[in-house]
Subunit: 355 residues, 2 copies
Amino acid sequence: MKIAILPGDGIGPEIMNQAVKVMNALGEKFETETVPVGGAAYAEQGHPLPESTLKVAKEADAILFGAVGDFKYDTLERSLRPEQAILGLRKHLGLFANFRPAILYPELAGASSLKPEIVSGLDIMIVRELTGDIYFGQPRGMREAPDGPFKGSREGFDTMRYSEPEIRRIAHVAFQAAQKRSKRLTSVDKANVLETFQFWRDVVTDVHKEYKDVKLDHMYVDNAAMQLVRAPKEFDVVVTGNMFGDILSDAAAMLTGSIGMLPSASLDANNKGLYEPSHGSAPDIAGKDIANPLAQILSLAMMLRYSLAKTEQADRIEAAVKSVLKQGLRTVDIYEAGTTKVSTTQMGDAVVKAL
Amino acid sequence: MKIAILPGDGIGPEIMNQAVKVMNALGEKFETETVPVGGAAYAEQGHPLPESTLKVAKEADAILFGAVGDFKYDTLERSLRPEQAILGLRKHLGLFANFRPAILYPELAGASSLKPEIVSGLDIMIVRELTGDIYFGQPRGMREAPDGPFKGSREGFDTMRYSEPEIRRIAHVAFQAAQKRSKRLTSVDKANVLETFQFWRDVVTDVHKEYKDVKLDHMYVDNAAMQLVRAPKEFDVVVTGNMFGDILSDAAAMLTGSIGMLPSASLDANNKGLYEPSHGSAPDIAGKDIANPLAQILSLAMMLRYSLAKTEQADRIEAAVKSVLKQGLRTVDIYEAGTTKVSTTQMGDAVVKAL
Ligand SMILES: CC(C)[C@H](C(=O)O)[C@@H](O)C(=O)O
Ligand SMILES: CC(C)[C@H](C(=O)O)[C@@H](O)C(=O)O
């Protein structure tokens, strides 16, 4: 089993160190290769996703990814910015199915900005399509407006598009995820305005015929954003497109107040996947040994479960994380009076010990 | 001063009745004309926005709009559905500047799903561009995918586009709104992924040169969705495109827990405007005399302030609404133990009395 390790920028390297420590403590042999990505790769090799990094990622059975992005690179032209690395990996590797759980650990109920009764026990799975939509749709660019009331003016434009096979495969993934949970699926679209998402709704409705044991609801994206705030526990599995999924999965993660705890998986058609924390690279706190490594460590657990079929090892890691929380250990982002503040390294060590 | 009254569907007519009662109690003469819109217009005349309704709206100085939409019309083809009426009015009347306040009344602090300390005193103004973006961009439709990995498959597609003059005019409106408030403006985009919104960011940055007294921040839409949940009071004025504005303004409204209280204004270049509650037509509770009429009544106040320059009358209505809240009167959506539950009609009567 070959694992590609891509620490990236900001807090990426320091939280990745903790995840690697945990991996090594599992008592199994994994073949790993560590390569630069994002700003770190640009600084070294002039490109955020160098050929050599892409090659290692392609040849691996799974990819453990840290985070990319730093203020330093904000003024680069877009194609060289760190975020292009993650977009490129998704596209080149065909990682179309993004799983983003939003789970509130009982010990961290106080961290949420929502009232405890609204969020306690929250456990949502957002399934976001990740290789289509307006993220990649061609044509896109700058031009003179070819028509309309501002014909001749300079304009920026992008194309939203979803084809039937793209919608079908993510719908299958989402229905199957729902079958393993509460058998409820909410498909989020904007069918009242967008042709793309009217088609999305039609195709999801059609795929539903093969999953009659799952209860399917359709919801407009604006309403979904409202219901997430009002009564998030009414959701179980949510499936949506790339753009809406970007917004809603971040909102859902933030409902827990502990985005530093949330892993994610991005899978291709064969369960090969890239695993990364839901939070970003947080360059403002990088190098201070204060970042929360648990999302990275839980991403490792997700990798073991989804791509490497090592359920037992995944269970062990997740149990160890729960145990350190029970012990009252907290990095600063989830610290509350009455708990023990620990550093990134101390948190990693505590998880290793709890294994 | 001519006012077009478009009650629409669902709870629209009953809340509009209350607003009209309040208008009549102001002791001024307004020339009004009431015309059908949405499902009601379709049922009567076969189209959600009949020529005759559009004509009355065009000739008026301001439009007071209720709400459109009902389950009954969900199976109609898209061009005949009630929502097309509001999209058509925006486009035909050039109502490009949508103001959506998210205000939490102190008396209603308990209604929010967020902790009181996170939302008490919340007062955000979302300025949403309303006639451009992927809502109206051509081309759009269904076709065989012309290229890409799914070439030849059926696909739905839409075009996101913003031209420089469109971005400029909404930016001016937003900077001016910020000047009248705390002089802070957050522009929300997705410049890291979309050409349209990289251009948006560039143009907003350029317009900023004319408003050096305003502090401008740029924020990605996914981060904005998170920050709205985490710390909404850090926002003051927010400006964004049509699609992102649809999602974020609904999320922001729901933070207050009292969307039944929130009005909105959609203005053209000359401050002619359409005024409507932020909530929808709620067909499930229509005709029961339980809907909250205050958003409709506050929309009337916004109309007097923005389009009719009747500041004093607007102030009177807003003071009357505060007074009924202080008296403890509540429709069912904002009811809490210890307050007095009232019907739609009773709430309207109470506002008239408090004038
Ligand atoms: C960094 C950015 C391009 C990316 C996205 O928009 O997909 C990020 O927000 C995410 O959700 O992984
Ligand atoms: C009804 C719908 C077309 C509309 C929109 O998406 O703009 C509504 O959600 C709104 O925000 O006014």
